[in-house]
């Protein structure tokens, strides 16, 4: 389990890096999205992997912290997801704005000299 | 081997568990077959029929299994899986209808006539050249 998720994070992050290094703004957008998946997962696994232990405290009895998943990273990821969503939207709009005004979808807003 | 006990399933009648197991096996198999169809069938218009069985019978069986298991485990009728069924009934037709229509006209537009769009003669091949 641990190895799988670690490798998965690595692969997604690597794919994101590759895309971020590409010249077209849409590629960079996809890259940033993939990277934020990887980073969200990374924050998430900082609380270790728990199966079927969602951090919902049972009614009546005192909750046992050792038997529930770490809620804090989850809260952090939630915030990070939202912020990631917002910034994706922003980058997208800037991307199309730049495409419209500069006439190219190159990330620099101008085609490189050949 | 005691995970059923954790959920209170050890009190449940065995026939219920059997039914649930059967439904699960059927449903899962159909899901797999549907996906297989999606992968292996030749044209898009054939492939779209693969997932149809996933959505109908596959999902139906698994939903039923879920209802049976939870009803048995909690000793009270648990039927809220019906909601999923209702939602699927309302959304799945939309998806397949729109997807099919999009595929037809995309193929016509791109003159991809070998993709099966002209089969049956409902959609005649448009005149070449635009």
């Amino acid at each position: 389990m641990e190895a799988v998720i670690a490798i998965a994070i690595g692969v997604v992050f690597g794919a994101g890096i590759w895309l971020v290094l590409r010249p077209r703004s849409f590629q960079v957008l996809c890259g940033l999205m993939l990277m934020s998946y990887a980073v969200n997962l990374f924050i998430f696994i900082v609380g270790r992997l728990w199966i079927d232990r969602p951090p919902l405290t049972p009614a009546g009895s005192a909750p046992d912290p050792a038997a529930l998943a770490d809620p804090l990273p989850q809260a952090l990821v939630l915030t990070a997801i939202v912020i990631g969503f917002a910034t994706t939207a922003l980058y997208l709009v800037v991307m199309i704005g730049s495409r419209g005004l500069t006439g190219t979808d190159h990330v620099d807003g101008r085609e490189p000299e050949p | 081997m005691n995970w059923l006990g954790m959920h209170g399933l050890d009190q449940a009648p065995p026939w219920a568990l059997g039914v649930a197991a059967l439904l699960l096996v059927i449903g899962a198999s159909i899901v797999l077959i549907g996906a297989l169809g999606l992968l292996r069938l030749h044209t898009f218009y054939q492939r779209i029929h693969g997932p149809a069985i996933t959505i109908t019978l596959g999902t139906g069986s698994i939903l039923l299994a879920s209802m049976v298991v939870f009803t048995a485990a909690q000793s009270r009728p648990v039927v809220h899986e019906l909601i999923i069924a209702v939602f699927l009934l309302m959304t799945a037709p939309v998806v397949s209808m729109l997807l099919m229509r999009a595929a037809v006209y995309r193929d016509l537009r791109a003159r991809r006539l070998d993709a099966g769009v002209t089969a049956g003669g409902v959609y005649p091949a448009p005149p070449a050249g635009e």
Binding site: - | L41, G50, I53, I83, P93, M97, R101, G120
Partner: protein, 176 residues
């Protein structure tokens, strides 16, 4: 009554949905569910040009139930046949074709239900209603007999739907 509860069935349906979601029949939830059930259609009324479908008589209701039951059997049957084809058939021999089915049903809700039934039945997919002659374009996974399909659809599905939805004038709006 009608002013404050214009869509009793929808409201009831939403209440049931609410209770099912919450898995409770506690009075607070009953109240809340009812309130939501009444408020939701009212608030969204302006976005519903066709209004909500209504069932007028018990007979219509029974016809609907009968239709659904028959359709479910058909669903299971064709499901297995599709499975069989996918698993065992030689795909080159599968005769997938589009066919045209002339329609007489005009009510959008009825058509919607028809599309649901057809799409839920594995092996057939609704494509569109061809506008020029009001024919349904249908894709059939493994076609043997065009006429059989046309007859089946018209008799087994369309006719009951016409009975259900078009015995009276459509309650609201014009589908066109």
């Amino acid at each position: 009554m009608m002013r404050w509860l214009p869509y009793p069935f929808i409201s009831l349906g939403l209440l049931v949905l609410w209770l099912l979601l919450n898995q409770t029949v506690a009075p607070a939830h009953l109240l809340l569910g009812a309130a939501l059930g009444i408020a939701a259609p009212l608030l969204t009324r302006r976005l519903q040009p066709l209004g909500y479908p209504r069932l007028r008589t018990l007979a219509q209701f029974l016809a609907l139930v009968r239709l659904l039951a028959m359709a479910s059997v058909e669903v299971v049957r064709s499901c297995f046949s599709v499975c069989r084809i996918i698993l065992f058939a030689d795909y080159a021999g599968v005769n997938s074709q589009f066919i045209r089915v002339p329609l007489t049903l005009r009510d959008p809700h009825g058509l919607a239900l028809l599309s649901c039934l057809i799409n839920m039945t594995p092996g057939t997919v609704w494509v569109e209603i061809l506008p020029e002659r009001y024919e349904l374009s249908l894709h059939v996974f493994d076609l043997h007999d065009v006429q059989w399909w046309i007859a089946t659809i018209k008799n087994r599905y369309e006719q009951p739907l016409i009975d259900i939805f078009e015995t009276e004038a459509p309650p609201h709006g014009d589908p066109a």
